[in-house]
Symmetry: C2
Subunit: 445 residues, 2 copies
């Protein structure tokens, strides 16, 4: 697990702040849930697959002794491995206190007991928006717009939205000869297409007991070519290809068309792609699924979809839901590599030196005055030569160092030293705050 140094922490805060601001504009409400969930909740909603990913918390005291004796489960709680399962529990538990349609965002850590690898961590942040309680395509449009705006807010300019639908994917698999009970496992294999290619998916299909004919027939459909067509044509091409398919297939095509239409109205510049091989790994999706991919680095930045059954497993009644999750850690890495963070994130505005113990009170007053104007100001903590103080100022990235020795005091001025250029100028004691605020605002605009 990772520690974060100050600069890394500031970058994480910068992202969170940017995403949050956009979600708020869309009227999403923040919520929070505990890190620990009851094990039955984590394992309940299809989480059994995830059991080996869960950090389990040891029972305590007598409860532990009893379980050791009777060789029962030694844990009754675990760290959440995503923010969706806790949301499902939360919605059911607080139904009466929540609006009928819950638009919520949640940015926070989750934990997975996986072997760490590049870009994969045992503790990492997820960043989700979800709308619970609204069927139909309007909710999809809201989460897609909010996510696209959130990515734009932190500096991503050119990206495309890839659209598909689990019902459409199922119809394709059925028409390729896969029986319905194999669709879920086929989706997991297809999800790896980008990484392992059709050969790899073929091997996965064999491992998963899906006949080789299915793969051949899928490839013969030339589904990837559909992605090159404009949305409307892509959808009618698919409808034509499938002939009179299931009602589910037709609903999928209708929903995707409606989503694309709305997105076209609101963001004509975003490129929309129908990608019938887009699978998204999670088992719980039931309708439209989507990704936002950066066009420059061909990486998925966010992924999501509709999952109308998951919450029902907790609620005992189906409750429509749709969500979009931003790949927080991936974006952080990408933005660091590509130097997309503003420079002003680190560093402080001024470092106030202390000439000697007697003049510490003056320095304290000066620092205090500057802080009151909102400037970020360090005050030297150890009296001693000027040199180590200027070294600290430099190390901490201070823009200016303020110096007031006996001669400056006598003249009623403070020496303001620009730490980058090395230039120094004397400014009247009463003018220091105004002078610095001005210099710093000028530099930022």
């Amino acid at each position: 697990m990772r520690d974060f140094l100050p600069l890394e922490t500031r970058r994480r805060q910068y992202l969170i702040r940017g995403f949050r601001e956009v979600y708020e504009r869309y009227g999403f409400d923040p919520i929070d849930t505990p890190a620990l969930e009851r094990l039955e909740v984590l394992l309940g909603a299809g989480g059994a697959d995830n059991e080996k990913l869960i950090f389990k918390v040891l029972k305590r005291g007598e409860s532990l002794s009893r379980s050791l004796e009777s060789k029962e489960e030694l844990s009754d709680a675990g760290l959440r491995f995503d923010l969706t399962v806790p949301l499902a529990r939360y919605v059911v538990e607080h139904r009466s206190e929540l609006p009928r349609v819950l638009r919520r965002y949640h940015i926070g850590p989750v934990w997975r007991a996986e072997r760490p690898a590049r870009g994969r961590f045992r503790e990492f942040y997820q960043c989700d928006v979800d709308i619970v309680g609204a069927p139909g395509h309007s909710a999809e449009v809201e989460v897609i717009l909010a996510t696209a705006d959130a990515l734009r807010e932190v500096g991503f300019g050119s990206f495309s939205v890839r659209l598909n639908d689990r019902r459409l994917l199922s119809a394709l698999l059925a028409s390729a000869g896969a029986s319905p009970e194999l669709h879920a496992t086929a989706v997991i294999a297809l999800d790896k297409l980008d990484k392992i290619g059709w050969e790899g998916v073929g091997a996965e299909f064999t491992d998963r007991g899906i006949g080789a004919g299915v793969l051949e027939r899928l490839r013969a459909m030339e589904l990837e070519a559909v992605s090159t067509l404009p949305v409307r044509e892509a959808l009618s091409h698919l409808a034509h290809k499938m002939g009179s398919a299931s009602e589910d297939f037709e609903s999928a095509v209708r929903d995707l068309g409606a989503i694309a239409l709305d997105l076209g109205v609101a963001r004509p510049n975003i490129s929309l792609v129908v990608s019938p091989v887009l699978a998204r790994g999670m088992g719980y999706y039931t309708g439209p699924i989507f990704e936002i991919a950066s066009q420059e680095v061909s990486l998925a930045l966010a992924g999501g979809g509709r999952y109308d059954q998951l919450i029902g497993r907790f609620a005992g009644q189906s409750l429509p839901a749709v969500g979009f999750s931003i790949g927080f850690e991936r974006i952080l890495e990408l933005m660091s590599e590509r130097q997309m963070f503003p420079e002003s994130l680190s560093g402080v505005d001024a470092f106030v030196t202390v000439f000697d113990a007697e003049q510490r009170a003056d320095s304290l007053r000066l620092a205090d005055e500057l802080r009151a104007t909102g400037l970020r100001v360090l005050l030297a903590l150890q009296v001693g030569g000027l040199k180590p103080q200027l070294k600290e100022a430099n190390q901490r990235g201070a823009r200016f160092a303020l110096i007031a020795g006996p001669s400056e005091r006598e003249q009623g001025v403070v020496q303001i030293k620009d730490m980058e250029s090395g230039e120094a100028q004397n400014v009247g004691r009463q003018e220091v705050a105004r002078h610095l605020s001005g210099a710093i605002n000028r530099a930022e605009t």
Copy 2:
């Protein structure tokens, strides 16, 4: 453990934002550490007392089987129970990447396997500022000023700073006849004085093997009366009472005097109190200790002190450190009870209704335009009568509902309905954003 509803979450975010802003002004750097720490770290630094408080994470796979067989410890990691032990580990681990003097803040969750009670939770936030690497009293002054300003930032006006020093307390205990090896346990008992009174402390002393004479002699010193004196007099009263005490005692008096002098320069309005019975529970304090207490509710809002040995236990060499921790959950509760949160925290600015499916695109454009100006805007997700939409607008605390049916469209206007007064007025379609921004700014100033 607790879920947080949207309003509660916003209140937590409001506090975090306020505290962070002030810490930044003082040049404190944010850092973050993982929720899970190795068990040896948690138990290392005097944490053995805390062992029963730790949520331990179960080992996995073969490692678990081996430990079960050989009846070894079933866990090698646990959830952090504070932010100070992780800081100590962090400083040692990243020494070469950190500034020589580290001023850091950390606001985040910690976990304790305690029985929940009023104001005591199994998962709760701590909010700490610490300065590592600076001896002397200047660092104390910085953490006290930053904490006082942070409390002021979120609305606390009148509070007092209570000062004491562990070396002073030790000298008092010694002069009351307690042998040095009993000082640590005596401090834990004295820490409860506010709650259980001298009688209770006496009982605790007996339990802890401290002779009854010690208590009598302590009480005879009338230490609480010292708190009523101005700082300088309080300190010379104590010095006089103790006569020629240890060097440690004299350093304590000198440091407290210097801290009080600086605080007086920077914040002449804050009431300063020397409180020789102030103990602060933690075992690791070595010098000045302090609390900020609300004068209105006589509750400690924050507590801290100098701990020059703790980090040394990890570093193998002593490293001076001082910290101040705000009682995040307590303050949250207090502010909720006393309605100190701004009203505008909850709710959205506008709810855009959708007249029918055909006009959804228009509504989407309108919502989008308003969001681009920074307003918080909900868009109706389900088409249907106006009534359920207005009900939702009301439930979500929208200030205005926007309505555009066929007649409004024909006239090129939008109806803006003030959800509080019920008044409605038609505004030209192009004027809506400007009109709403104006109305909302006016209401906020």
